[in-house]
């Protein structure tokens, strides 16, 4: 009873239970950093643990065999329902999560945050939550890790807010996220109950077992809606994005939004759980989801044009491009799924990079209001160009990972929905290019105002943070093949569940 899933257990491949280490390492790191309090060693330890986690992810990526559609390095501990494994889709997002965490530790240093030791501890807890969500094959554990990560981010927002209006942003964040989580948990309960009904009263939240006993008829629709909207709040998907702009504007720049939207666990959750567990409902509701996503691309792009604050503008950019990811996922086509995962990784890197630049600008100017920023290009050309290139990556410029990924989604979309809606989706990208360029021109290229103070030149830490992100992006962009290979088999096996 594995619902069409197959796995390879970790000891079958030799070596160590790497996924357990992957989850425990950041938690242990958080404990160490927390114990060191505000000593300088805490900062060093925080960076070391983040780097170690990234190395571990690279090791895992090297260990798995991408050509196999099986879930690999699986670990089980039945009494707790603990069941983890990775495949090509999750490893891509794991790598993004680990890389972003490393960059965030560097970024936190260069911004000169208060109590960096405590910040790094929270960051590592959030990373543990992300890693847990990305490896678990149990919906209840997914919800648990989600709660862990959300509480870490909530603490982050409370302690390191950058604006007076933080309480409002915090309240909105908690309301939305707890609602989303509650929906997801309710969805889990429906699934578990469905399993109990089918298997003589035995409850289970395990993906393998649930996939073999999907709830029937109306209950499947119910489960689909609960899970989908629970994840949609998290993702965030139009029209459930209300928490993000406030949090982006008032929360800790870069770190908080990067943790929430840099790693697209919402999209991942849809691929891993929603698609296999409620297949009939997914097929039935596909046109409606796509319709909302199409509307979301344009509606949020229009909202982005209306923003006067750079941070809010980026938040709407995220919502707009997330709609494109949902189109990829719900094309239920192997190319679309593969494209969605790669595009999610690309967006995560690019948006976080943009947020880093915004943070660096904020450190200099104390504002992110577009009306007050001007002429920054003259003083910080490297950061300006980095901002533009990250923006172009979001638009899917050739040479960035966004290109091949967007191309895959378009291919799937032509196949599934025809050319007209595909053109519409692609034009959404042009709209995104429009508001990003507009923001770039106002903040960086416009004439410096009379009497505005000179800002500091780019520091070496800023070169490092943006340089690594840029380099990673361009390298993946021009050398996409390994990433396509990594995600191909897993996407195929997922799409094979939906016979077109």
């Amino acid at each position: 009873m594995t619902g069409g899933f197959r796995e390879i257990l970790w000891f079958a491949e030799g070596g160590a239970p790497l996924l357990a280490i992957l989850q425990l390492l950041p938690l242990g790191g958080a404990a160490v950093v927390f114990a060191l309090r505000e000593r300088t060693a805490a900062v060093v330890a925080g960076k070391a643990f983040a780097l170690a986690e990234l190395l571990l992810c690279i090791v895992i990526a090297g260990r798995i065999a991408p050509a196999s559609a099986k879930l690999q390095l699986a670990e089980r501990f039945a009494p707790l329902g603990y069941h983890v494994a990775v495949d090509g889709l999750s490893i891509v997002l794991l790598l993004v999560a680990a890389l972003l965490t490393v960059l965030m530790t560097f970024y936190g240093m260069s911004r000169g945050m208060i109590s960096p030791g405590r910040l790094f501890a929270v960051l590592l807890v959030a990373e543990a939550g992300l890693a847990g969500m990305l490896v678990t094959l149990n919906v209840a554990w997914f919800a648990l890790f989600s709660a862990l990560e959300l509480s870490a981010v909530t603490y982050l927002l409370r302690r390191w807010a950058s604006s007076r209006a933080e309480t409002q942003a915090l309240a909105r964040f908690v309301q939305y996220q707890s609602f989303g989580l509650a929906l997801f948990v309710a969805g889990c309960v429906v699934l578990g109950w469905g399993h109990a009904a089918a298997r003589g009263g035995r409850w289970s939240f395990d993906l393998f077992e649930l996939a073999g006993a999907a709830p029937a008829g109306r209950f499947q629709t119910l489960a689909f809606y609960l899970l989908f909207y629970g994840l949609a709040v998290r993702t965030p998907l139009f029209p459930l994005h209300g928490w993000l702009p406030n949090m982006a504007q008032h929360g800790l720049i870069a770190v908080a939004p990067a943790l929430m939207v840099g790693v697209k666990v919402g999209i991942y959750g849809m691929l891993r759980f929603v698609l296999p567990l409620t297949p009939a409902a997914v097929v039935y509701w596909q046109p409606y989801v796509i319709g909302f996503a199409m509307a979301g691309i344009f509606f949020t792009a229009a909202l982005a044009f209306l923003q006067t604050n750079l941070r809010r503008l980026l938040a709407f950019a995220v919502v707009s491009h997330t709609s494109l990811l949902v189109i990829g996922v719900f094309s239920l086509h192997e190319a679309g799924i593969q494209g969605a995962v790669l595009l999610a990784a690309n967006f995560g890197l690019a948006v976080t990079g943009m947020w880093f630049v915004v943070g660096f600008v904020f450190r200099r100017t104390g504002t992110t209001e577009l009306g007050e920023l001007s002429g920054l290009f003259e003083r910080i050309p490297f950061l300006a160009i980095a901002f533009l290139i990250f923006g172009l990556a979001i638009v899917g410029m050739p040479g960035t990972p966004g290109f091949d990924a967007a191309h895959l989604i378009l291919e799937a979309s032509i196949d599934t929905f025809g050319a007209l809606s595909t053109v519409a989706a692609a034009l959404g990208n042009v709209a995104a290019a429009g508001f990003l360029l507009w923001a770039f021109q106002r903040a960086f290229l416009s004439q410096g105002k009379q009497g505005s103070p000179d800002v500091d030149r780019t520091t070496s830490m800023e070169y490092l943070v943006c340089g690594i992100a840029l380099l990673a992006m361009l390298a993946i962009g021009f050398f996409t093949e390994p990433w396509l290979y990594l995600t191909e088999a897993a996407s195929k096996s997922l799409a094979a569940r939906f016979v077109r």
């Binding site: 291919e411 093949e481 290979y485």
Partner: protein, 485 residues
């Protein structure tokens, strides 16, 4: 060496752009000149290595790039594209001289962007894989945007740059869709141009591909009504950049290379659309010249007018038509490119290219004035200049295939010539009154070198077009034969 000649040519400017950052800023300009000279040498070597009588595509290089999508890094040239390589290299060199003393801030950034643009433009002419082509196609946008927004000639140039960028990006959407559709219509996804050409598509797919390609390329060509960016661009951009964009007609090249041969049946069914758009563009450009008071905007309309003629000639779908179109496009890089470079010289001296701010400029700058006249006359297709053979063939082809449109074209060309001469008279003749004009200095030695090279080529190709046309002819015949299968 010759096996990797095209890769060397395309990536030489890119390598140069990287080296710029290792050297002090004051060395940037000199190094850029050296790199561009070396690129010109490599482009000439490619021209020499090319055998017009040999296989269709030569100097081929093919490396698997993205295996699971079956995308190749594939470059090669045929008679339709090989001449564009030296033309590109030459025009970039002229553009560099045109902005020789203009770049004071961030010179390394400016010159590396210029070299990046050269790399992408050469790549467009060499790419034989649709994905690779699209990569180079979109890669031109970033340097153009930056060069215009950061080093523009007017205060509003950033807005013009953003508008250009967005129009081109929007144009890229149908193009990408066309390439994806082409790939998806094959048994296994294929982006390889020679392979795609070998297998005709079903008719309905051809229509979709043709419309999408036409929409994508028409923005760049530019065809009326998608031309609005060009006059604005000519006014806001530094002359060197306008020379590159107006002189190198990559949009029309795209029509010749991709849109028509990939969807031959649809293109021939829709000949009226192509011819109609071409004629409309031609007449619009010609009449547009009459309404201008600025030489740069006037010249932009002249270039719109002539590219309309090229499209009209293409709609004949004959070897003569495509040969004439390629010859005219090549001549553009000399005449239109040269004229924009000269206008940049003029703008640097007098601060204006508006006829109200000039008047009598020929008295103080006789060399510049006569050089501009020659380039301009070449631009309107004067016999004895490089544009004449191409224009003549195009008109013949048009008269045979669309007699009415051909007659209208003749009429339009006469208006264009009259419009140009009227503008020229007001700007350069008469009594000079403004101080800037009276005190202006004629061309400096390095500017004279550019002028002499351009005019020598315009004259040589105009008087003795045979060898150049012979390079194009076999490929043009193969192109036309490919359509009739």
């Amino acid at each position: 060496m010759s096996r990797h000649l095209l890769s060397l040519l395309v990536f030489l400017p890119l390598a140069g752009a990287a080296v710029l950052w290792l050297l002090p800023a004051r060395a940037a300009r000199g190094l850029t000149a050296l790199v561009m000279l070396a690129t010109l040498a490599a482009a000439s070597a490619a021209l020499v290595a090319f055998d017009p009588a040999g296989a269709r595509f030569q100097l081929l290089e093919r490396v698997l790039w993205v295996a699971s999508l079956n995308v190749h890094y594939q470059v090669g040239v045929d008679g339709l594209s090989v001449l564009f390589l030296p033309a590109t290299a030459l025009l970039f060199l002229a553009g560099l001289v045109a902005c020789w003393n203009l770049v004071h801030d961030a010179p390394r950034l400016h010159y590396s962007l210029l070299l990046l643009l050269q790399c992408a433009t050469l790549g467009i002419f060499c790419a034989l894989d649709t994905v690779l082509f699209f990569l180079f196609w979109e890669l031109t946008l970033l340097p153009v945007y930056f060069l215009l927004a950061r080093w523009g000639a007017t205060a509003g140039s950033a807005r013009v740059a953003a508008r250009y960028f967005l129009m081109m990006l929007a144009g890229g959407v149908p193009l990408l869709l066309a390439f994806v559709l082409l790939a998806a219509s094959q048994p296994a996804p294929a982006f390889d141009l020679p392979a795609l050409l070998a297998k005709p598509l079903p008719r309905s797919t051809q229509y979709a591909v043709f419309f999408l390609c036409l929409a994508g390329f028409a923005v760049k060509v530019p065809l009326v009504p998608l031309h609005t960016w060009l006059p604005q661009f000519a006014l806001a951009a530094p002359g060197s950049l306008t020379a590159l964009l107006a002189g190198l007609k990559v949009g029309a090249y795209g029509l010749i290379r991709f849109a028509i041969p990939l969807a031959p049946a649809a293109a021939q069914d829709l000949h009226w659309l192509l011819a109609g758009l071409g004629t409309l563009t031609l007449i619009y450009g010609a009449v547009g010249i009459l309404a201008q008071s600025n030489l740069r905007v006037g010249l932009a309309h002249a270039s719109i007018c002539h590219v309309g003629l090229a499209v009209l000639g293409l709609a004949a779908f004959t070897a003569q038509g495509v040969q004439g179109a390629v010859a005219l496009l090549l001549s553009f890089s000399l005449s239109t490119g040269g004229a924009f470079v000269l206008l940049e010289f003029l703008r640097q001296r007098t601060g204006s290219t508006d006829i109200n701010g000039l008047g009598g400029a020929a008295a103080t700058m006789p060399l510049l004035a006569s050089g501009f006249l020659i380039c301009g006359l070449a631009g309107v297709g004067m016999p004895g200049t490089s544009s004449f053979p191409g224009e003549f063939m195009l008109i013949l082809a048009a008269l045979r295939s669309h007699a009415g449109a051909g007659m209208a074209a003749l009429f339009g060309l006469a208006i264009a010539a009259a419009g140009f001469l009227a503008l020229y008279r007001q700007a350069f003749f008469g009594r000079a009154t403004r101080r800037e004009v009276l005190e202006a200095e004629d061309l400096r030695p390095r500017e004279r070198v550019v002028l002499v090279i351009l005019i020598a080529l315009i004259g040589a190709i105009g008087l003795y077009p045979g060898p150049w046309l012979e390079i194009v002819r076999p490929a043009a015949e193969a192109w036309a034969a490919g359509l009739r299968r």
